[in-house]
Amino acid sequence: MDPERTEVRVLLRRVPFAGARVLEIGCGTGRLTRRIAGVSRSVTAIDHEEASIETAKRRQPASLRRKVRFEVRSGTALAYPAGTFDVVLLAWSL
């Protein structure tokens, strides 16, 4: 899947992830999360499928554990204070 990494290159070119507090909605197993977390200040990655979140947690490198938080949550139930994030990524989820 996308061995050319076109998707990540476009995202990193177009979205100012550097130093940002990011909410990723529809993170699945964390395929994109791992790529954007390296440059972001923090990433809250959510998905409504519990199994996907468990896989994402297992695959998360130790180096990113302090930056990334995975949660089982729907994109229509965002229980975060207003103005929490600099960037929201709807990852194949709208």
Partner: protein, 146 residues
């Protein structure tokens, strides 16, 4: 879906960015036909077209609704559209059986029509090194909260 965009608007700081990444099925949700994933056989650097994957009506309706929701959010002034970029997303499969498995496990609202299947089987039988390439058009909308 507009409700989801209202939620993201609330949790974004002022002037924060919403990046909406998804298949680019409908450049204009009111116009048919949809842009479907293209199927090719690839070998020796060349691509041989083998048709398109078919998506269910439910799947297409969902994509149409997503595009309409973004249009509605823009009309209501929740966001301003900063940029749109479209690009190809590629999947590679070694055989029709592997593609079938992926469709049944992951692309549940997708089907491979008989004519495309036959073309792929011919391409793969003529060259054991050939692979299957699926090219799905993606779209990245960059929206800014005022």
């Amino acid at each position: 879906m507009v409700h989801a965009l209202e939620q993201t608007h609330r949790v974004l700081r002022p002037h924060g960015l919403l990046a909406d990444l998804r298949p680019n099925r409908f450049t204009d949700p009111e116009l048919a036909p949809p842009a479907l994933p293209r199927i090719c056989g690839i070998a020796d650097g060349g691509e041989t077209p083998a048709g398109e994957l078919t998506k269910s009506e439910k799947n297409l309706a969902s994509h149409r609704a997503a595009s309409r929701a973004v249009d509605e959010a823009l009309r209501r002034g929740l966001y301003a559209l900063e940029s749109v970029e479209t690009f190809p997303f590629r999947y590679y499969f070694r055989s029709v059986a592997v593609l079938d498995q992926y469709i049944s496990s992951t692309w549940r609202e997708t089907s491979l029509e008989a004519a495309s299947r036959l073309r792929l089987e011919i391409i793969l039988s003529l060259n054991p090194q050939a692979r299957i390439l699926i090219i799905d058009p993606l779209r990245l909308n960059i929206l800014r909260k005022p």
